[in-house]
Point group: C3
Chain length 209, copies 3
Amino acid sequence: DEIREFARGVVESEIEKHAADGLGRVDYALANGGAWVVRHSEAYDVQRGNWFLLNARNGVHHNADKMLKPSFGEPGQCFPLKGSSGFVQIRLRAEIVPEAVTLEHVAKSVAYDRSSAPKDCRISGWLQGSNPNSVIDTEKMFLLTEFTYDLEKSNAQTFNVLNSAGYGVIDTIRFDFTSNHGSPSHTCIYRLRVHGYESDSVSVMAIDS
Amino acid sequence: DEIREFARGVVESEIEKHAADGLGRVDYALANGGAWVVRHSEAYDVQRGNWFLLNARNGVHHNADKMLKPSFGEPGQCFPLKGSSGFVQIRLRAEIVPEAVTLEHVAKSVAYDRSSAPKDCRISGWLQGSNPNSVIDTEKMFLLTEFTYDLEKSNAQTFNVLNSAGYGVIDTIRFDFTSNHGSPSHTCIYRLRVHGYESDSVSVMAIDS
Amino acid sequence: DEIREFARGVVESEIEKHAADGLGRVDYALANGGAWVVRHSEAYDVQRGNWFLLNARNGVHHNADKMLKPSFGEPGQCFPLKGSSGFVQIRLRAEIVPEAVTLEHVAKSVAYDRSSAPKDCRISGWLQGSNPNSVIDTEKMFLLTEFTYDLEKSNAQTFNVLNSAGYGVIDTIRFDFTSNHGSPSHTCIYRLRVHGYESDSVSVMAIDS
Ligand SMILES: [K+]
Ligand SMILES: [K+]
Ligand SMILES: [K+]
């Protein structure tokens, strides 16, 4: 009976986490929460070549926010970028102290082909402020983390940022991938998430750290 | 091995329940099952003030059925009503003997802010019959249950009705909230569900009880 | 502690499978993966009689791909066919060696009524090639499997094909149902999936087997 209760407790907390968007962590890059894609490298159309020019607003494809939405385990719920390297720049829903980022691809068990998954990745972040399209001084950009997406691990992989409190707040991140898992034509981004917290006392914390 | 089998059994039944709309209970207020919102208090737009007048059909906002649909763990999949009190009136898919209602808000672990969750709530029910917009004699309305939505408990909270068989069948419910968890501007309704059963022998049962 | 670890392992693998489209198996009939409905028997409208003629393209209703999409546990996320027998013909996303098919209906615990579930079923498959609408020699059609959908079992039921490697590759399947679970008016198809693998060495395998 003790074991029974214990097992039920484990199951309930795991299912609760699963039901809570898979990770049970707040995502400041969720499209539905007010985040959006500001820029991205050239998009790719598997069937007809490039539809980038036809459907873009200010260079952002109308499907680009697929990268900031849940995929619910479905193959194809991603946004394809041309080639094996590229980038996505995201305005977060609020100014936050960043703590971690999650890159998600489709689960191995249901995927037709995973050669289009990103491999070597880098995340930068900065405080863009009122004009999301203005050019930012590279001195104000921080390297948040570098990582390799591993096809053998769980499909949603979370990476802590290097020095969480050291940057002050950010409102924009840029995701660069320099390689993928083999596809010469395109790289598919299922979902990017950004974790952290909003803070009114950030300047104090930055001094403390 | 016995423990192994037991653990697997617990997991499977819990996941089955989770996959079955989270609760594994029939919902007679599901939009996709034929229920709809008949009336509601004034809607609220976080960004631009009030969009109520622009998008309403007979006083019902075109997004109001978000309250009768799954949220799949996503923050923002709710319908915002103005202020800290208000109401929603729902036509059920069928005449039922009501047994319980469920109020769901977003999970704590992924929410940006939960001050917009409803707090003190009341559910009434009645048999409206053929004209869903006609005014009903208040004598024919029953108080089904009163409850307080608790931010510390599971995000979908179910409350039994006070006297299930005593009302006969109903086809309409009204959800009133008189307070929320702190937001002065609006209250967000993620989902309302109504549980019970259809019955051909309701009058007999009502006499028995 | 050992038990704790074991229980957590079971839970995690079961949830991973659940998150991976419920089964953790590749589906070559997924609409979002490039499969589509080629033909079907007459559609049915519960409220107004038959809307088949109004919304069809080449005889395929614009909602027919609901049969090739996840239902996420929601009642009503199905496509209704007229009567208690009928068929659906599906072009798969690729040429595959078929291994199994899955027929899914809504979960018992949340269903209003399950008399519209299919009962006695048969799946045929063949290699249609470049013209999906041309008539195929019945000699080239294979019986993949016959089965009875059981309302008492799990809502997604998987059936192995009779002689997997023996057919060579196929790119089209036809699902016939000859009875349902009681509804005289219609039969509701929630989702069909086709499992198998793509192979460059199929002819060799067919000879070996
Ligand atoms: K996605
Ligand atoms: K909802
Ligand atoms: K479906």
